[in-house]
Amino acid sequence: MENRTALNSAAFCKMMQAVCRRVQEKKDWLSELDAACGDGDHGVSMGRGFTAIEGQLAGWNGLAPGILFKKVGMSLVSTVGGATGPLLGTVFMEAGKAAGDQAEITATALAAMFAAGLDGMVKRGGAKCGDKTMVDALTPAVEAMKQAADEGASPLVALCRAVDAARAGAESTTNMVSKQGKSRYLGERSLGHPDAGAYSIVTILEALAEAAG
């Protein structure tokens, strides 16, 4: 396993392919999670979105990482619908914008990308930490990436740390009362069930980390 100091466009393409595959593997489980507090279609939405991306990846070969992420984001907004489309789409679009046309993405640049993505998601959806959403997984993930980058770690290590942090964040949503989305109407009944969207963030980061190696 290579521990490169920067990820290039070929690496990012590989990473997105891994995300697409991983989402298909996990989509049924994500829908099940969603059924506990929502309308049970989160995995379906994710599957739809990433199937569309998988079909376009070949055509996006060679694009700079930032441009690739922007295209991923736009595709998600266009195909996923619901709340997930705008929110996840915005993460990728803003992350892509932050990367500009850099050809090689260091850990520092990666952290900046996801920080911009998180910012965009929060602006679009208005969720705060503790609302029981994707923000609860992405926020600690971005923190972990920033820290890893500050310590001089490679992008791969930064991603691995982000995965652990995201997982802990997603797990912690189990004990939160939902304040956003369809699950907010459950009130206290949303306790004891994790947020499906938070686990989608984990799924995406896991795949990115695996393929970055």
């Binding site: 829908s31 507090c37 929502g38 049970g40 279609d41 739809r48 619901g82 705008p86 989305g181 109407y185």
Partner: protein
């Protein structure tokens, strides 16, 4: 119980249902599909008036496509099952119906719909197309009165689209429409009760479990569990509870006049709805609230959920005149009087 629906590939539900709807009604109601999107628009919208656009997730038929027609909606944008349509579809629909006076958009108050419609409105503004958006938030169970902007949109869509369609026909501007529609929205209150959950076609799974002897008041339109579960009551007792709560919410007062929808959530029979209607009218009469008009049937459904939703809309002179204006659409029953 396994899902047992007449489907093909569950992933093709949205497109196939849309094409079936168009096959049935496009000619009679003079509709066309916008490009290859699941967006339907009227062909005969007059120039120089505001266009009315609605949309949301599929799976709630007859809402939204059956609102298309003179006197009601000009564009219907259909998302995937229970998922809001993406901005691209909404923009395409709006551009197809804009006649120079802007587009009045009515959609349910859900996080997904809010974000997608907001993004579409941003895009449309960049292209110089004016819009006003009315989020429907009639469900009294989903949030307390003081947080009414968090309430979910339910059957009131039907009354509000009717009102908007009539306003647009009269030549009202976007701003004039907003003033009246704001009041119309305020006057609509809904409460639902469900006996069974729904299944999502793509997963075949039920969206929640409910015991054989239970009912769920405050049910969501997508099968998301409601805010309170109790033992199944009789129709009369359940209906009285629901009417009492709806009336207290606005509040509707003695002397008020209302239009009412007694809505099936999907699999509830007309038999049951009529039994509920009988009690609803009785209870309203006891409260001295006059029922001006009633509609009974499936108007905003959630797949095969068994349940009933009651919507009351308080009418004043202006709203009554708009309510009485003729309209002609695939599924809604308003007809010209006389």
């Amino acid at each position: 119980m396994r899902m047992k629906k007449l489907l093909n590939d569950p992933n093709d539900v949205r497109v196939e249902l849309f094409e079936g709807f168009m096959g049935a009604y496009a000619k009679k109601f003079n509709l066309r599909r916008v490009e290859d999107y699941t967006v339907a628009v009227r062909n005969d919208i007059p120039q120089g008036r505001v266009a009315v656009l609605t949309g949301g997730g599929s799976g709630h038929e007859p809402l939204f496509p059956c609102a298309l027609g003179p006197g009601m909606a000009d564009a219907a944008v259909c998302g995937d099952i229970f998922a809001s349509p993406s901005p691209e579809l909404i923009v395409a629909g709006a551009k197809a119906v804009d006649r120079g006076k802007g587009v009045f958009i009515i959609h349910g108050n859900y996080a997904g719909d809010n974000m997608n419609f907001d993004m579409a409105v941003e895009s449309l503004a960049e292209e110089g197309i004016q819009t006003r958006v009315l989020r429907v938030w009639d469900d009294i169970a989903s949030a307390p009165l003081e947080r009414y902007t968090e309430r979910r949109g339910m059957t009131a869509d039907v009354f509000l689209l009717k009102t908007a369609g009539a306003l647009a026909e009269r030549g009202a501007s976007l701003d004039e429409m907003m003033t009246v529609m704001d009041r119309a929205r305020h006057n609509c209150r809904t409460l639902g009760v469900a006996m069974t959950s729904a299944t999502v076609p793509q997963t075949g799974k039920k969206t929640f479990e409910i015991a054989d002897d239970e009912m769920e008041i405050g049910i969501g339109m997508h099968g998301e569990p409601g805010v309170g579960r109790e033992k199944l009551g009789t129709a009369d007792r359940t209906c009285r509870k629901m009417i009492d709560r709806i009336v207290a919410d606005l509040p509707f007062r003695a002397g008020d006049e209302v239009a009412m929808i007694v809505n099936s959530l999907g699999s509830t029979t007309l038999m049951e709805l009529y039994i509920m209607t009988r009690q609803a009218i009785r209870v309203l009469n006891e409260k001295n609230i006059k029922v001006y008009d009633t509609h009974v049937g499936p108007f905003a459904t959630c797949q095969e959920m068994a349940g009933c939703m009651i919507t009351l809309m308080k009418l004043d002179d202006e709203l009554k005149a708009l309510y009485d204006a003729p309209c002609y659409t695939p599924d809604f029953w308003f007809v010209p009087k006389g």
